[in-house]
């Protein structure tokens, strides 16, 4: 297939940036979206031009590195996929495709389609862990049975890949889905119990400090999340936060 690509080019944080137009041809429907960009970059390098910078690593939907805003949707058309899992069979011959970086104040653009998502790391650093030493002097793993239902829910929340699509897709650039996934995982497990209140207060506080917006319950994040992280987690975090705020005041 032959395609027209309109891609955001920005040489660095201080450049204003602009959309530029490229043509690619002979694209196979079995190619992944990123392989299509590889073809473009190969072409650009041969022409002596600057290739498009983009983040990627695992190319199988698990590292959370890839992050393109395609035709107005985070990770493009299709549900439950990351950019790297998108295939060209989802597009039509002759189509024009718009490709932009994540847009959010807390995710500044570094170059072209590459953004700085270190704010997510700092939210985890604020409390997204169990304070246990790695010495190995822990009790036997089966000493504390965990109801399967809770274990499964904790697992579902824990599958967040930290890609940031939820933020990119939210009109308020809120990081609630990401933050609540970690809060939920640890709130559902007995190991997370001791630091439960402190954790939610600190993580939410950090989220606000980073400049993410407020949640107005539009639910767009859940729709675009490649891992199907559920809005239930946001509700759970709100409850946790409320409980923790009340008990920290009393």
């Amino acid at each position: 297939m032959n395609l027209t690509l309109k891609i955001w080019r920005q040489s660095g944080p201080n450049d204003k940036g602009r959309m530029e137009t490229y043509q690619v041809s002979d694209i196979s429907p079995d190619m992944s979206f990123l392989e299509m960009i590889d073809v473009l970059n190969d072409q650009l390098v041969r022409e002596g031009k600057d290739p498009v910078a983009f983040d990627h690593d695992c190319r199988e939907g698990i590292c959370g590195m890839c992050s393109m805003y395609i035709n107005g949707e985070a990770h493009g058309p299709g549900r439950g996929v990351t950019t790297c899992q998108l295939h060209m069979r989802s597009f039509k011959d002759g189509e024009t495709i718009y490709i932009e970086p994540w847009r959010a104040a807390a995710f500044p653009v570094i170059k072209d389609l590459v953004t700085d998502r270190s704010a997510f790391d700092r939210i985890i650093q604020a409390g997204g862990y169990v304070s246990v030493n790695t010495s190995g002097n822990t009790q036997d793993a089966n000493a504390l049975p965990i109801p399967k239902e809770n274990a499964d829910k904790a697992f579902d929340a824990a599958t967040c890949i930290g890609c940031g699509a939820c933020v990119a897709t939210c009109k308020n650039s809120s990081a609630m889905l990401f933050t609540s996934a970690k809060v939920s995982q640890l709130a559902l497990l007995p190991q997370g119990e001791a630091e439960r209140e402190r954790r939610v207060l600190r993580m939410v506080n950090q989220m606000d400090l980073e400049g993410f917006g407020n949640c107005t319950n539009t639910g767009a994040c859940e729709v675009e999340c490649p891992k199907g992280i559920s809005l239930e987690n946001i509700a759970r975090m709100n409850r946790e936060f409320l409980k923790a705020s009340i008990s920290s005041e009393s």
Binding site: L34, E35, I124, T134, N142, K148, A158, I161
Partner: protein, 666 residues
């Protein structure tokens, strides 16, 4: 220099405990005076960095991704082994040890492997305490599955995302130390050289990938947890950025590279679909618990399937050749990876491959779906269920076990594996070889350590499934935090390592010169072209089957390709910005040297063992033929200038506890 493996004296089962008791301790006040650099934040690096920091050392950690959570360990799917014997199926530390030695085709060190088995149980305790959500049964206890090469169920898992969950556990421990200021994290930084001062490793040169700045970092010791080098083949299941540069730079500065030719080709990956292909996707080995591998018995059926006139489901049971079950009745579909891969290649070479390229076999779940469906119908009390009902129930069970893998498969191939068998083919997956290390995980350069896939230590010539995650966390949480003390105990009075020395200046200059040479090169060919060509040479000559002539040719072809690379490569942009093409060029330059050494190593080893299969050395039945008399050693290579002219040092492997046998899975 003679190789000192520093394996402690005494009976196998007591070595580690005794050794730990004899290691010199650094008191907490002195730990604060000591800096450690950790390159890599995968399972090995993140767990080591978090543990060092917790013990009181000052840590600087580096990764090239934008966050430590994205290290390639995140992609591991199937599970992690541990000798917990929760299933009460006769597992024990000794059995895990024995399986690993045998699985590695008797080419690993007994003492290291025993230690690994010994600490394995603790890993699970540790991870659960951190909140890693492993799969559980209805009683709330941890669930297990089986992996290849073993007859017990000792693999712990979190659906098909075990690596992700374990890495996020280690990342959370690391994040906790970052928040305390005990670890300084350098994201988007690439280590480009190690710095040796007075014979000791005292720091690294790293490039800030965002600004392009080349930085000096000093420390009392450096730990490389930089992962494996499977991407030397261009196409592999590794992440795009996985590379050998950190380990290779260490090799160039004096660290011996051990058994570079031991490569694991994983039997169940999605086959190559076109020239544009940038990577291959693994379908976890756990699928072989329930999937049966087959090709048609008759060539006509092969033809019919290839041209679409027959579907795989049209073939009756007796028209199918379940070749693993046929050849290896006792292990069946769960033979180790090297055996399963070669068997698939054998069928495809004979013309039984089931896709257009002739390089694919079926992995079929229909028997498992029906079997589970029947059990489920009984559990749910469905009387006389119809076949469709059984299938539906069975599909649900399979979905709960492998849902995300099936979904991944469908997204890539557009085929529904619940209804039609998967097509799979072997692909490069893991590298058993790596930096040579002693029992303390120290390389042949004092103060330079290697952990995880970057070292060669525990898997011999073939790694068993679910054992890499185990090794990464064992090294990082439980081994290196102790063993490094022995070395650092001498450094408590050294004071901070200055980077304002001729050694650092020299290393920095070499790095900058290399970068500038690429940027200013007058070439016209993109980096990937060379990487692809190198991959082809390696796959054809140093892949699943190797022979003397092929390896010799490969060495000269790689040398030619390397020359061409430096003449013709084009690296656009500048050195002072985010420049992914430059990053790739620097990595491919190292792969072009490593590939040559791998071929030399494969040429030197005149036997077949594990993942190293030399066509000249096979039994009449086509099984690998080892030569224990002459090759029961670790080949540790010392860099001397030209990669393939490295000097060979042999570390003899001494087996005191197991008897060397021909590996049989029949």
């Amino acid at each position: 220099m003679a190789l000192q493996s520093n394996i402690p004296e005494g009976p196998l089962a007591e070595k580690w405990e005794k050794h730990k008791n004899n290691i010199r301790l650094v008191n907490p006040a002195n730990k604060r005076l000591i800096d450690i650099i950790v390159v890599g934040t995968g399972l090995a690096g993140a767990s080591a960095a978090a543990s060092f920091a917790e013990m009181g050392y000052n840590v600087k950690a580096f990764c090239f991704q934008d966050s430590p959570r994205r290290a390639h360990s995140i992609a591991a799917q199937g599970g992690i082994n541990a000798a917990k014997n929760y299933q009460n199926d006769g597992d024990s530390v000794y059995r895990l040890f024995y399986d690993t030695i045998k699985g590695g085709d008797y080419r690993s060190r007994e003492a290291n492997v025993y230690r690994l088995a010994e600490v394995s149980a603790n890993i699970i305790d540790q991870c659960v305490a951190q909140g890693v959500p492993f799969a559980r049964d209805y009683g709330g206890l941890l669930d297990n599955r089986s992996f290849g090469g073993v007859l017990v169920s000792r693999t712990f898992y979190a659906k098909g995302q075990t690596g992700q969950q374990l890495l996020l556990g280690a990342y959370s421990a690391l994040s906790r130390q970052i928040s305390k200021g005990k670890v300084q994290m350098y994201n988007r930084h690439e280590m480009l050289d190690v710095v040796i001062v007075d014979g000791k490793c005292r720091g690294i040169i790293a490039r800030n990938l965002v600004t392009g700045e080349v930085e000096r970092h000093g420390a009392h010791a450096v730990v490389l947890g930089s992962g494996g080098y499977g991407n030397v083949f261009f196409l592999s299941t590794n992440a795009m950025g996985s590379n050998v540069s950190a380990a290779w730079k260490a090799h160039r500065k004096g660290a011996y590279f051990a058994n570079p030719c031991y490569t694991q080709i994983h039997p169940t990956c999605i086959p190559v679909s076109g020239d544009y292909q940038s990577k291959l996707t693994l379908m976890s080995e756990s699928l072989r618990n329930d999937g049966r591998i087959w090709v048609p018995k008759k060539k006509e059926d092969v033809e019919a399937i290839r041209n679409g006139s027959k579907r795989p489901v049209d073939l009756s049971e007796d028209e199918r050749d379940y070749y693993l079950e046929r050849r290896y009745p006792s292990f069946g579909n769960l033979v180790p990876r090297d055996v399963a891969s070669r068997a698939a290649k054998e069928r495809c070479d004979e013309g039984f491959g089931v896709n257009k390229t002739g390089e694919a076999v079926f992995l079929d779940f229909s028997s498992a779906i029906m079997r589970y469906g029947k059990t489920e119908a009984n559990i749910q009390g469905v009387k006389n269920p119809s076949e469709d009902q059984v299938r539906q129930l069975g599909e649900d069970v399979v979905r709960a076990k492998y849902g995300n893998l099936f979904q991944m498969y469908e997204k890539i191939t557009d085929d529904n594996p619940y209804k039609t068998p998967m097509k799979i083919y072997p692909a490069v997956h893991y590298t058993m070889g790596g930096l040579w290390v002693d029992y303390n995980l120290m390389t042949s350069v004092p103060g330079l350590y290697a952990a995880g896939e970057a070292n060669f230590s525990d898997h011999g010539a073939n790694r068993l499934g679910a054992s890499a995650l185990m090794q990464g966390l064992a090294d990082g949480y439980f081994v290196i935090p102790y063993t490094i003390g022995e070395y650092l105990a001498d450094d408590i009075r050294t004071g901070a390592i200055s980077t304002d020395t001729p050694e650092f200046a020299q290393a920095e200059k070499e790095v900058k010169d290399k970068i500038n040479a690429f940027i200013n090169n007058n070439g016209d060919t993109p980096v990937d072209d060379f990487h692809r060509k190198l991959g082809r040479i390696m796959w054809d000559n140093c892949g699943m089957a190797r022979n003397e002539q092929g390896l010799k040719n490969a060495i000269s072809e790689i040398q030619k390709l390397r020359e061409e690379f430096y003449q013709k490569v084009r690296v656009p942009g500048s050195a002072e910005e985010l420049n992914p093409e430059l990053e790739k060029a620097l990595r491919v330059a190292d792969f072009l040297e490593l590939g040559e050494l791998m071929c030399r190593d494969a040429l030197e080893r005149n036997e077949s063992c594990g993942g190293h299969f030399r066509e000249e050395y096979q039994t009449e039945e086509g099984e690998a033929r080892r030569d224990d008399e002459n090759y029961t050693y670790v080949a540790a290579w010392e860099f001397t200038g030209t990669p393939s002219e490295a000097q060979l040092h042999k570390e003899d492997l001494v087996f005191e506890n197991v008897e060397l046998k021909q590996r049989s899975y029949k």
